[in-house]
Amino acid sequence: MTGPGTGPVTIPADEVPFDPTVGWRKSPSVALRPEPFGALVYHFGNRKLSFLKSKPLVAVVKALEAHPDVASTLRACDVPEAQHPAYVTALATLSRSQMIERRTP
């Protein structure tokens, strides 16, 4: 397993693609429980459980709210440039399961 992945997700055909150029945040219905390998993610609305498999990814998810877009969040969290695409993929997965959501300006 490479990258910070959260596992494969099937994308419904009518899904809006993930847009990393806008502001995001952890959904208010989501709780993160720290675990030795990262965090357990629980969505109180859809009762879905998933996992963040690295601590840096946990930091990124928490930091999203404070930055205008994904790239600046990743830079602020000191994620090496080469890993940015992997993080964007992981965040896209999280957005599909509604763990993170677009901030309304």
């Binding site: 397993m1 596992g7 494969p8 709780a31 429980r33 720290p34 675990e35 030795p36 390998f37 357990l40 629980y42 109180f44 009762r47 879905k48 459980l49 998933s50 996992f51 498999k53 690295s54």
Partner: protein, 404 residues
């Protein structure tokens, strides 16, 4: 156990991480009472009579407060029959009010129209109705006369009240293994979801396991049925030993006992798994200083269980990665070594191991038995059983968890 425990790896697969345990359980079963109106032949917790030492309402609330602090986001509530506790509905609301969702298992005895409507209005609660036969004839032989009718009435009430996503929970036995399609049709007719789990030789299940556990041919059919129907059916990941037939079944293929799974029993004792009510798997009690959190995080037993298996016959098996040697409780209560094959090992090693057991072997018996002592109305006819009580047999190690 070795003095130096292996270190948790960084990164890698989640299943490898889970072997080292989590800071709080994912699949916590909480049995609220040993009391039950039924006397099922295979009850995993040998329930029947209430224990006078059961947690009081205030103590149960304190456990919920602690689960909230530990961020245990939901619990599987069972028993005994949890709804016969007079404070059951209060504790349900209390838990939900404290961010601890509740999935509870019941034989349906208290689910009249009014309760069904109440449940349908409540967010954050899941109901599982136990049914061990798709027909009254098959069901009532193990669960007792009238128990099929009770369960069906509860299902009707829930469906009529507009309850969403309720479950029909089936323990697969030799007698109902041929009814899987019928179970599916019955469940669909109520707009419910089917959940099937494995029979383990735990509690009174030990007394009937030889007679009731599925045959090898049935296991094979079940495996193919799961591959074909798996998407629409929940299993609590309880059939992972079947993965050794070939293709891995979806879900967590790992014994989660003490790692991601545990049981709090009605008197507050914490066991590694709901199917392991035996002093060997008792880690502590929620009433002791430090409460549940200390037991979960620091008990010697759980620390010991949180390491990958490195020795034993199974580690040399080609299917070990898929099957991981199967279920700890099933091995223990059939008197097999914990690092060897599961008694239902699909490669046949379990049967050999069972046959090779010492003739004088006395299988481990739990000293915890709350079975009814006198006759019980409608008691199961299986084996012409004397008088024994009932229970919903299944909290799910890791039901419905998306682990991909």
């Amino acid at each position: 156990m070795t003095a130096v425990l292996p270190q948790r790896p960084t990164g890698g697969r989640l299943i490898d991480q889970f072997e080292y345990g989590l800071d709080a359980p994912i699949c916590l079963t909480w049995e609220l009472t040993y009391a039950c109106n039924l006397a099922c032949a295979h009850c995993l917790s040998s329930s029947g009579r209430r224990d006078p030492r059961e947690l009081s309402t205030a103590e149960a609330e304190a456990v919920i407060d602690e689960l909230q602090r530990m961020q245990v986001f939901y619990v599987n509530v069972g028993g005994g029959e949890p709804t016969v506790r007079p404070d059951f509905w209060h504790l349900l609301d209390y838990a939900i009010g404290h961010d601890v969702g509740v999935k509870f298992s019941t034989n349906g005895v208290k689910l009249d129209k009014q309760r069904a409507a109440q449940l349908a209005r409540t967010d954050y609660v899941d109901v599982q109705i136990s049914l061990d036969g798709a027909t009254a004839e098959v069901n009532d032989r193990v669960r007792g006369t009238g128990s099929y009718a009770t369960a069906i009435r509860a299902l009707e009430n829930l469906a009529e009240a507009g309850m969403k996503d309720f479950k029909v929970s089936v323990v697969v036995t030799r007698e109902n293994a041929g009814q899987l399609d019928e179970f599916k049709a019955l469940t669909d007719s109520f707009g419910a979801q089917l959940r099937i789990t494995r029979l383990r030789p735990s509690g009174r299940g030990a007394d009937v396991w030889d007679e009731l556990h599925p045959t090898m041919a049935q296991q094979k059919e079940l495996y193919h049925w799961l591959l074909a129907n798996g998407d629409g059916v929940l299993t609590g990941d309880s059939f992972f030993h079947l993965s050794a037939f070939g293709e891995a079944l979806p879900g967590l293929n790992l014994c989660g006992a003490g790692r991601v799974v545990c049981l709090i029993d009605p008197v507050g004792d914490v066991y590694a798994c709901p199917f392991a009510i035996h002093e060997n798997f008792l880690a502590g009690n929620v009433r002791s200083p430090g409460g549940f959190q200390r037991v979960w995080q620091t008990s010697d037993l759980f620390t010991e269980l949180r390491s990958p298996q490195t020795g034993g016959a199974c580690t040399k098996c080609a299917h070990f990665d898929a099957c991981r040697g199967g279920c700890m409780a099933a091995k223990f209560f059939t008197g097999l070594p914990l690092d060897g094959p599961d008694p239902e090992c699909v490669q046949g090693y379990g049967e050999n191991a069972l046959a090779a057991r010492d003739l004088d072997l006395v299988t481990p018996k739990s000293h915890i038995d709350h079975s009814h002592k006198g006759p019980v109305r409608g008691q199961p006819t299986l084996l012409g059983m004397p008088s024994i009580p009932a229970k919903i047999c299944d909290e799910s190690p890791l039901a419905g968890l998306d682990l991909r």
